[in-house]
Symmetry: C3
Subunit: 210 residues, 3 copies
């Protein structure tokens, strides 16, 4: 395994986890009728922020990275409680969040796909692994909230943006591009695809039969 590719600074990862947890807590605040307590909000926030990375490491059968350092959990719990307390304020920053979340989506996708490739996963499942890393937190969030999984439904491109990004990544690395430029390209492509999808309301067609 080429350790070099994981030299993404820890603070970037923690920022991503924190943003994920904060958005998970904001999501939970929509369900006032669920009567979540402080711990419930934290569980949803932590699951949203850390879920994708946990799923990725489970699939790779390596010890889960978020359990190897104290910081992930501290950041995720703090961000969840902050999200809950500042709900009113944060909801006004909606546009900022969409942008940061789109960046996060790309970063997690790149982290998942490159870690997969580094552990010998072939191109197609490596792209899937990137997507799972990017959207796994939101799936876990919905399953725990027992609410329909948002990702499955018709809506502005989200997982699709991650698929486009990780497909770009595995294609470019397969033809010999080094990891770092390929990962950066993945982040940019995912970000642009998500923002274009969001801005113009692009969506995949609903399921249909011939």
């Amino acid at each position: 395994m080429d350790e070099a590719i994981f030299e993404i600074p820890l603070w970037w990862e923690l920022l991503a986890v924190g943003v994920g947890a904060l958005m998970g807590a904001l999501f939970a605040s929509r369900f006032k009728d669920h009567h979540l307590d402080l711990l419930g909000v934290s569980i949803i926030g932590v699951s949203t922020g850390l879920g994708g990375g946990v799923l990725r490491d489970l699939v790779l059968s390596v010890p889960v990275a978020t359990f190897q350092s104290n910081w992930y959990l501290i950041v995720a719990v703090s961000a969840s409680l902050l999200g809950m307390l500042l709900e009113r304020l944060l909801k006004r920053l909606n546009t900022l969040f969409t942008v940061v979340d789109a960046l996060n989506l790309g970063l997690f996708a790149a982290l998942g796909a490159t870690k997969g490739i580094a552990f010998g996963v072939p191109a197609v499942p490596a792209a899937l692994l990137g997507v799972i890393t990017a959207v796994g937190g939101s799936i876990l969030r919905d399953v725990l909230m027992v609410t329909p999984v948002e990702l499955l439904k018709v809506g502005p491109l989200y997982a699709t943006a991650a698929i486009i990004g990780t497909t770009t990544l595995v294609t470019t690395t397969t033809i010999g591009v080094p990891f770092l430029p390929a990962a950066i390209t993945c982040v940019v492509v995912t970000f642009v695809a998500r923002m274009v999808g969001f801005t113009f309301g692009l969506r995949l067609p609903e399921q249909r039969r011939l």
Copy 2:
């Protein structure tokens, strides 16, 4: 570990995965009110087709097999989209599907139980592992669809058929029967139990108290 037992041809496994994914997509098509898009249908199909094997490998703490080759995912996604498009046609082939699905159930059960035994799992949990491999996909499907888990409810023998099959397998291997005949017996017993249960509407009793 005796590698010999895993020399089941890849095309058989892929056929099983494809059938599972196709049936998962057909299942998803029942929920028009969920407004799944093309990706949503693919996610449900892929989860149904690959879920059992993934759960098995997670429990055994080995790298998930479906992430070690490109083919699993390609087959699962193609089968899902095919299932969605040809829904009308495929629904007429209901009987054929019940038969193929019963075969799949037995094959997955045998694959799971023998892999467990090969990794040193004792008889009782090895039988469970076979059952998890056989029915894990359908459980994952229901959890993601946030619909009551079909398997828990009163209905024609399904998981029970897999339990009968894997119990036969671990019993016969314990008394010294080699893996291959034991695995084939498992497939046959599961298939027969499922078809008999389906044809005559056999079912386990509903939960009750004394």
Copy 3:
């Protein structure tokens, strides 16, 4: 890894698994409209009794302990069926169960946290791992029943008691207290916190914003 800490007698673990499975089956019996069959009740009971330990071992990326011995599953299935049959009788023993369950909560929390520390997990995630071990079964139960996850909601301290217990454990071991007294302290603290919370109806505040 210091093997010594795992010399908790197997019968204690099996008792804990049995109590968990029995309470899972009792929980399932509340949902008469789900039409669970005997197997469905067993699946819920087994998931409740074994779920926490399975999640713990998945996160640690070690072979799942409950699949390494025949006894876990035999005990869990028997306890589930017993719980279903004796529902009427057992419901009268409510207070006894609350006490036994509070003990279980502490024991599982201690088992999870110490196993985590033994595998090199730092203090904060080790405390979380103990909590996951203690409450994972009930989360899995609710997800499979497609019912709102009880743990997330306002109610008498439950997971919070486990958090207090495992925090005590990682704090004491960090300052040099040996595993055994630290684990026993964790069981006692969790038990007392749970019983005090239950008796006086203490609860965390509901989610709120500033």
